[in-house]
């Protein structure tokens, strides 16, 4: 019976990002490689974050602090990744399908973001997803009609998409010499905001998970609009 939950949650969590991947990235081998390398950078950041957690063993109550250093580490590695890509930029542009297009860098950013987000979703959600095959569930504390599997799936779905847009904005922000600090600050703050917003799910606030999702969706819409705007600017 609960194969239904498993399929439903798997599609909810990874359906949108897989649609993006197959319809845009999958055709281009160069982009797939880029995506995998960005995923690797995210893994290193979370390895460090979990090492800090493991060593400090500050017990269950310190979730806000855990989120803080995890997010900061992820952003740090996003920057490292940007630095690496910007060094390899000329080569990458030369090898791309259309070396003269002004949209090569945003495309790299989009693909890297997808890789960053996808591995984030996979690592965060694969464990609950596997357990969801079994008959047992835990209900979400703030939304007792939804299972933790399902709220986790929605959170995962949104965080993959958010990571994709953040990468586009961050690349734009780090762009030398016209650094745009607004973008950088926005990425950092919205990342922190969306991470803290997930804490609503397990809070005592009624329909807290809906609040968390709404915050994430608003952040996502703003980020998408901002991303599209950066692309439009390039066309001027």
């Amino acid at each position: 019976m609960t194969i239904l939950t498993f399929l439903g949650c798997a599609l909810t969590a990874f359906g949108p990002s897989l649609a993006l991947f197959f319809l845009t990235v999958a055709k281009d081998a160069q982009l797939v490689i880029l995506m995998i390398s960005s995923a690797f950078f995210w893994l290193i950041s979370i390895l460090l974050a979990s090492s800090i957690w493991f060593i400090s063993k500050s017990d269950a109550t310190e979730n806000p602090i855990t989120i803080l250093y995890s997010v900061l580490l992820q952003e740090l590695f996003r920057w490292f990744f940007y630095k690496i890509i910007s060094r390899a930029e000329n080569g990458l542009i030369l090898a791309s399908a259309n070396p003269t297009s002004p949209y090569n860098i945003p495309t790299f950013a989009f693909v890297s973001g997808l890789g960053f987000g996808f591995v984030n979703g996979l690592v965060m959600y694969i464990n609950p997803l596997i357990i969801s095959i079994g008959p047992g569930v835990i209900m979400c504390k703030s939304c007792p009609t939804l299972t933790l599997f399902f709220t986790g799936a929605i959170t995962t779905c949104l965080s993959i998409l958010l990571h994709t847009t953040w990468m586009i904005l961050a690349f734009e922000g780090y762009r030398y010499p016209k650094r745009n600090y607004y973008y950088i600050i926005w990425v950092l703050l919205s990342h922190l905001g969306s991470s803290y917003a997930t804490m609503f799910s397990q809070s005592d606030i009624k329909s807290g998970c809906v609040i968390g999702f709404s915050i994430n969706i608003v952040l996502l819409i703003i980020s998408i609009v901002a991303s599209v705007r950066t692309l439009k600017k390039k066309n001027l």
Binding site: L4, A19, L23, D59, Y103, I131, G136, M139, T147
Partner: protein, 695 residues
């Protein structure tokens, strides 16, 4: 907690990416609460299968049906889905279990044996303790007894539910709170039921449990023995005598004092057998102790006295039949390698044993079956005291015999009666079981094995019951909680006292219908009886146990267990050490841990090398034998061939489940979201291309 566990996992995941294949116990614990499992297991014999089995893990919503009406309503109802039904033990009839099975709504049964309502303030019991309840057959083990071919044999257990011998292909677990973990489990389950009731079984999530009790055995005993998925039910009997020099040819008659040391019930882990098992063996030890204080040492009497404490009597007289078979039939040692082999682990050279057939020692040959003079058997004797008029304690025990016309039987009955007469006059409190005019012959007892070979041996079975076996025969309720401990102790003590005096007189050929207790120097130490009672029931700090036990359980299981060569379980070890010390000819200062540490002929009893004729004796089905390779085979399918299935481990978890509607909802959301995303991506790409003028 959720996030922390997640982060901890991430550390490993980052290093090892094959996470999907790894079993995730820590994370699972969040979703599945592990419960203490007290399962019913699969037992087989030469003709088939009984007990419980679940071929695959099953789960169901918790539901409690306290009464027969509620159960009937449940069976008739048109509820959807699978349920785990909590049944009070009284409702565990075969009919109920079969109709539950055929209703298709039941995935497992939890038997509610006792326990209180955790939500009530005065901790009221959820169910009333039944006045009598026995899961055993109406005539237990009768098909293996002396009267198996007797058409009109007496039905000893008319209230027996007869579910121990049935085959159930679904899991049955017990709810029996008695220590911290089991109380915690019990409370979780009862809270779960009450939670479901509050939600009327419609507002999900609801509480469900999951069972896994896979038994490897199938078909019958010979099949599963061949496949090596079974072990013979059994253990070790203990025999002991103060006559250190007893031998086959000394011509001295032998008086046997006998009792059963263990018991059985549907759920082996919680088998207690206070009346049927513990009480008789306590009396036996108390008698041995009383006789050891005889002014003239009993080994100098005209007759030998042999104490036998048999294992596995509830399983068709495993201990007594095996013992009688070995001392009755001529013994041929076919092969003796004197060293341990793969098929026989004993250092037979050290103890004078034999490699095939495998025996550590052959000292049982020193007991000449032809010399057996009489048998005193102590059956259940814990409940011999009742409150008479004016709240005066009334003692009443009954003597059962096979044939009242046997002069030897008459002498023993009259002698016991006379010795029990208060003040030496009138009728004693030990009476003939047939005093009500109904002659029932012997109840299921160890004496039958001896009478099988020689029907003329005088044999008395002494018990607290007259017409029906005790109220909780082979039941989990036989734990003494319906009785007062001091009453149990004085009941055991008083019958042990009379019996010890009778044995003492009889060993000197002095027992007569007019024997009087007045000048008898033998008396039982009731303090010892109390100590033994504590030791064999609950007391982890018992001084008699301390010497040799390893584990300190709160509760000592009296289930028979399985026979494993050379490895004795707690109960036989207890009897061996205690009887070995009591019947010791001499106890040395030399410390020891086991028999190997002592000299030839000595045993290690209570950590001292002791010169004592006390031995273990194998106990397993009379229809089973070990072959030269050490494998168990069935040699006589007509006799007892009980074997117990092997299993890996039990799973018993509590968790929440959601309705199938909400699961379908989740699936639909996922599908819709994916389709929507595909559409969005396609149109999004078009939009981007147009606005950025890429085409």
């Amino acid at each position: 907690m959720y996030i922390n566990i997640l982060l901890k996992k991430i550390l490993f995941i980052s290093l090892l990416t094959h996470l999907a294949l790894s079993q995730d116990n820590e994370f699972n614990k969040v979703f599945y609460k592990k419960l203490v499992s007290v399962p019913c297991v699969r037992i087989l014999n030469s003709t088939g299968v009984m007990g419980c089995q679940s071929l695959k893990p099953t789960s169901g919503l918790l539901i409690l049906t306290e009464t027969q009406d509620l159960l009937n309503d449940f069976i008739k109802s048109d509820r959807k889905g699978k349920y785990v039904v909590i049944l009070p033990y009284e409702l565990m009839t075969n009919d109920n279990l079969r109709s539950l099975e055929s209703s298709g709504k039941m995935s497992g049964v939890l038997t509610l044996i006792n326990g209180t309502d955790p939500s009530s303030s005065n901790s009221a019991p959820i169910i009333q303790r039944p006045i009598f309840l026995s899961p055993d057959e109406k005539c237990p083990s009768c098909q293996f007894g002396l009267y198996r071919n007797d058409e009109s044999r007496y039905i000893w257990n008319p209230n027996g539910l007869g579910i121990i011998q049935e085959r159930y292909d679904f899991p049955i677990f017990a709810l029996y709170p008695y220590d911290k973990p089991s109380i915690k489990s019990y409370n979780r389950i009862i809270n779960g039921v009450q939670f479901n009731e509050r939600k009327s079984y419609v507002r999900f999530p609801l509480k469900a449990v999951e069972f896994d009790a896979l038994m490897y055995a199938a078909v019958d005993a010979s099949t599963c023995l061949r496949r090596n998925f079974c072990n013979p039910v059994g253990g070790y009997s203990v025999y002991s005598t103060p006559s250190i020099d007893m031998n086959e040819n000394d011509g001295k008659p032998i008086i046997i004092v006998s009792a059963a040391m263990d018991s059985k019930s549907l759920f082996q882990d919680i088998t207690f057998g206070l009346n049927n098992g513990i009480s008789g063996s306590i009396a036996l030890i108390a008698i041995a102790d009383a006789l050891s204080r005889s002014p003239t040492p009993v080994k100098n009497f005209q007759k030998h006295i042999l104490f036998t404490s048999f294992a596995g009597e509830s399983w068709g007289f495993l201990g007594s039949q095996r013992f009688v078979k070995n001392i009755f039939e001529p013994f041929n040692c076919i092969q003796n390698k004197t060293k341990p082999t793969t098929s026989c682990g004993f250092n037979t050279g050290n103890f004078g044993g034999c490699t095939f057939p495998c025996f550590r020692d052959l000292d049982f040959k020193r007991i000449n079956f032809g010399n057996i003079d009489s048998i005193f058997e102590l059956s259940s004797v814990a409940n011999g005291i009742s409150k008479g008029p004016g709240n005066i304690q009334e003692f009443k025990y009954f003597v059962h015999v096979d044939n009242e016309n046997n002069a030897g039987n008459r002498l023993l009955m009259q002698g016991l009666g006379a010795l029990s007469a208060v003040g030496g006059t009138g009728a004693g409190f030990v009476r003939n079981a047939s005093e009500d005019g109904v002659f029932r012959k012997l109840p299921p007892s160890s004496s039958m094995a001896f009478l099988e070979k020689n029907i003329n041996i005088p044999a008395v079975v002494i018990s607290d019951f007259q017409a029906n076996l005790s109220n909780y025969y082979n039941s989990e309720y036989d734990d003494g909680s319906d009785l007062d401990v001091s009453t149990i102790i004085s009941s055991i003590c008083s019958i042990a006292n009379v019996t010890s005096q009778a044995v003492w007189l009889h060993a000197q050929n002095l027992l007569s219908p007019t024997s009087s207790a007045a000048n008898n120097p033998i008396s039982v130490n009731c303090t010892l009886v109390g100590l033994l009672f504590d030791c064999l029931t609950v007391d982890a700090s018992c001084s008699l146990f301390d010497a040799f036990r390893k584990s300190k359980d709160d509760r000592i299981s009296h289930y028979t267990g399985v026979f494993q060569q050379g490895s004795q379980q707690l109960l036989p070890r207890f009897h061996y050490n205690v009887l070995g010390s009591i019947n010791a000819n001499s106890i040395s200062d030399r410390k020891c841990k086991n028999d190997v540490d002592c000299e030839f002929g000595e045993i290690c009893a209570n950590l001292h090398c002791t010169n004592s004729f006390t031995r273990y004796h194998d106990s397993y089905g009379a229809g089973l034998e070990f072959n030269e390779k050490g494998e168990t085979t069935i040699v006589d399918p007509e006799k007892t061939t009980w074997v117990e299935s092997v299993w890996s481990d039990f799973k018993f978890n509590l968790f929440n489940i959601t309705s199938s509607e909400s699961q379908i909802g989740e699936l639909m959301t996922g599908i819709l979201l994916t389709i929507l995303s595909i559409i969005c991506v396609i149109f999004g790409k078009k939009y981007i291309r147009q606005t950025l003028k890429l085409d």
